[in-house]
Symmetry: C2
Amino acid sequence: MSIEKFQYSQAERDAIYRVIEERRDMRHFCGGTVEEKTLRKLLLAAHHGPSVGYMQPWRFIRITRPALRHSIHSLVNKEVLLTAEALGKRSDEFMQLKLEGILECAELLVVSLTPDRDQYILGRRTMPEMDLASTACAIQNLWLAARAEGLGMGWVSLFDPLELSNLLGMPDDCKPVGIFCLGPVNDFYDKPMLETNGWDNRRDLDTLVFENCWDSDKGNE
Amino acid sequence: MSIEKFQYSQAERDAIYRVIEERRDMRHFCGGTVEEKTLRKLLLAAHHGPSVGYMQPWRFIRITRPALRHSIHSLVNKEVLLTAEALGKRSDEFMQLKLEGILECAELLVVSLTPDRDQYILGRRTMPEMDLASTACAIQNLWLAARAEGLGMGWVSLFDPLELSNLLGMPDDCKPVGIFCLGPVNDFYDKPMLETNGWDNRRDLDTLVFENCWDSDKGNE
């Protein structure tokens, strides 16, 4: 039977489920470095992500200049304050959270979509945002591989994309999708940080799965 | 040193890199079934995806009615023809490709974003599309877990999202992100199908990685 033929060993499957469960969105880092060969393995893992029409829309900008890292940090801080304002009654609670580790992480990466995306039509005529979806899948590969290597990663989306784009000299039709903090950590969170801090809880899987049509009783919470 | 302390064993890391490399976007399926407990493990893997502000915006609609599967197939066929038209000189080549396995796969799933997304501001004030990015990461978890279980999966984005939304009775502000074919396969592709068929090639990683700023010589191909 074809399933057994292609199924990985129990130990391999355990490793894969383990990394899926233990991956965390990290905000606490402890400096250090990431070896060049490890960084390359992680980027290669990302580059094995799926992509709509095989467009491979992801580009990785490695930030090595300390002054540039500080500029990115300022840009994020600005958005943190604007978000706090927009959050209204939850703003105090929000400001207690650690939201990024840009100055403490070993490596800082910005991931962007390419400027030439309009020429890719396969799977995107009615769903142009599949370029972002593909890139997010690539990032998830990188995230899982990093966790297995013992490295933390955090995805920061608290920034104005146009300002970040300008800061890094990107063409107008690029689109940065995240700032990624990567590196050694003192500890991985047991649970998602936003759960530990009481921001929200993981929903019950049964409330997320419907049959044949949308179930408003479940779907709208 | 913290990296070694948190690093997975060599065998575990090998399994994780293996599944990242062997995952394929499948279009050929051979019927059969997916065990309920396996399907649940895959959905749980997805539900362990990262989500911006812990919003968990993903919902899974399992299609079990044969008539509904046929309606979804028709909707995709319609978009295939419109895409062929839009592709101009590559349309004949496109029509030679196998683009979906909706009628042959064991399980058909539609994944959608929830209608209540506007209330989530953390990490989304300037980057609202992070709901889709989170959901794509969740789907990548499912995809990797499926491959390890010996099951193929294919992401189909050839459809009009509003038509699919109407067909499944979704509220207006939901957003279907893909139709997913899942199940046993006779064989996994050695390489991405679009590479084997000459549609495109995997780019060299070095052309995708920049330092400190956009490199137009590389980035614009």
